[in-house]
Symmetry: C2
């Protein structure tokens, strides 16, 4: 059968997600999950779906109830919201809507590795533009007419942000859509939702990080209603299930809870940044729920391996032409204490 | 923004799923949902996930526990199973893996309308080959080298089946993959899983129909492990959430329950087929959980409209060059009694 697979797919190695050990006993700081549970209101909403007659029926293809809630929360038109099975689904829909075979996807680099994979799957080309010093966007931007330009903000693995003024300048320079991937924006000081008033800006969000619902798979995009009408043609009709729609809506409705766990994560982030620096790591100031730690004195990979041996999983990342480091999720205080304790023995 | 959308997407009208009214009080016989609830074991498994720590973490990208169960049940290698967010997700993955822009998707017609939409989204061409008399495959098959050949078996809207011998002959004639879409196979006398020993056959399944889990979104494909390794590159890493993985696995483990509700649906199907024929409808012998009713004496569309006015939703379908009819899902006995009662007044 493999001779029938498209050559671009055959040639791919495929995106490798962070390890997801399904057992317990591991301090898991490798995929930026939230150390705190989701809002109790999300659980209640899902239990209610399970108790109802709704699971045997198809869900609402457009997620209208969710869109009402999200539109109200963010002050945008509900018809300008696209629902997705995680923000990966949203990014896939955007790729299929805008990027032809042989097209071009551009992103600053180092950033989310999935962007290059999306280009591979679509049979398109990917160009990474190195970030300027201090992790800012180069200006002028060298690729104005990409089919899709993606900026993760806050960026992974760096945790750094670019300002809305920079994003607006980029949007104006581009002759194509600008996707601001705000997977981590709830941990930052600002967001770009206001920029969706520009004709070519789409903001994407996930409930996997700040809302602690990685296992539920829910994300969404904010843009104009006219663009959503085009994107809906590309998505699977029923891309979001009845449980995730209800859980996501309830989670968004519980902003008090979000602010509580956000505050705890930011406090832990500040503390772990200071402690890691004391251990001679270079740690960028992060506005996400992870930090990017590099170490001039010793290679990062053996530290990753040693931590793994001690049941602490962090993400080792090595970018061609850039260098390597450890991306460490902000866990609970106890998890970070455990990490720091082991690191003290190692370095 | 719409000037940046690919021309093939702009030109599409998009797939229109059957209406999904979210309120109650409607006899819903339009999208082949199951009138009975899912297995209690599926509920228990999902409640257990909700009570655990699993929702804040990413799910298993490959769904290994589900694959073990499904592999055992169907007597196939678990590594030859691909998990999907509904079988629509599976069909999307197959399209992206095998069909280049400008490629060709072929299916007998009339059949599942989504196949043509998948071609549109991919920027590919769709060719529908009219079924031969008695809803069998034409032989010889006119398009041997399509990038994807899809046969829904049982077929929608007809509810008819083609034999495994016909499918095997077709698979041998084709110079490309043959997808046997078995969304309704649990209601039929046979299935094509045995044909996945052939090098170019992929069988797809959904839990939306026989397992009464349309709201959960879960489907899967059965083929060779080597093909699954290619398909995994194309799917979103976490395309199935923790709840659907657990619910789907538990549903498959409860074969006694499946057989019970299957028997009830088949009994109702037999009864409604007879009663509809008494009302002068032509009804094909169905092996699915719906019947295809046409009426020589009067046009189908006004009957659909009249039923809708009386809060009974069936699916009116009109295929260019073929004709129209009503596809009516097998509901509960009470629902079918209600339908028959209203039809008696109408015809």
């Amino acid at each position: 059968m493999s001779q029938f697979v498209r050559p671009n797919i055959r040639a791919m190695t495929g995106y490798t997600p962070g390890e997801q050990p399904q057992g317990g006993g591991i301090v898991k700081l490798n995929t930026n999950e939230n150390p705190y549970p989701p809002s109790p209101r999300a659980f209640e909403a899902m239990i209610e779906v399970l108790r109802s007659d709704r699971l045997r029926k198809y869900p609402d293809p457009l997620g209208r109830a969710f869109r009402q809630t999200a539109g109200m929360l963010y002050g945008v038109d509900p018809d300008g919201i696209l629902i997705g099975n995680g923000s990966d689904d949203i990014l896939t829909i955007l790729t299929r809507a805008f990027v032809p075979e042989g097209g071009l996807i551009v992103s600053p680099t180092p950033s989310y590795l999935l962007y290059a994979t999306l280009a591979d799957i679509q049979g398109a080309r990917f160009e990474g533009i190195p970030f300027a010093d201090d992790w800012q966007l180069p200006s002028p931007w060298p690729w104005r007419s990409a089919h899709l330009t993606l900026v993760a903000n806050p960026n992974s693995p760096s945790g750094t942000v670019v300002s809305n003024a920079s994003l607006e300048r980029l949007a104006n320079e581009l002759d194509g859509p600008l996707i601001v991937d705000e997977a981590y924006a709830d941990f930052a000081d600002a967001n770009a939702i206001g920029l969706t008033r520009l004709p070519n800006v789409i903001v994407t969000r996930t409930l996997s990080k700040s809302y602690a619902l990685a296992g539920l798979r829910f994300g969404f995009a904010i843009t104009s209603p006219a663009t959503v009408r085009e994107l809906v043609k590309v998505k699977d009709s029923y891309n979001c299930d009845a449980l995730s729609l209800a859980g996501a809506q309830a989670a968004l409705e519980d902003q008090d809870y979000l602010l509580q766990i956000r505050a705890k994560i930011i406090a832990t982030r500040t503390r772990m940044t200071g402690e890691l620096r004391k251990l001679d790591f270079d740690v960028l100031p992060s506005q996400a729920n992870f930090v990017w730690a590099t170490c001039m004195k010793r290679p990062a990979e053996p530290i990753f391996e040693e931590l793994k041996r001690r049941n602490i999983l962090v993400r080792y990342m090595n970018y061609a032409g850039f260098g390597d480091g450890l991306r460490i999720s902000v866990g609970s205080d106890a998890e970070i204490d455990r990490l720091l304790e082991e690191l003290k023995k190692l370095v």
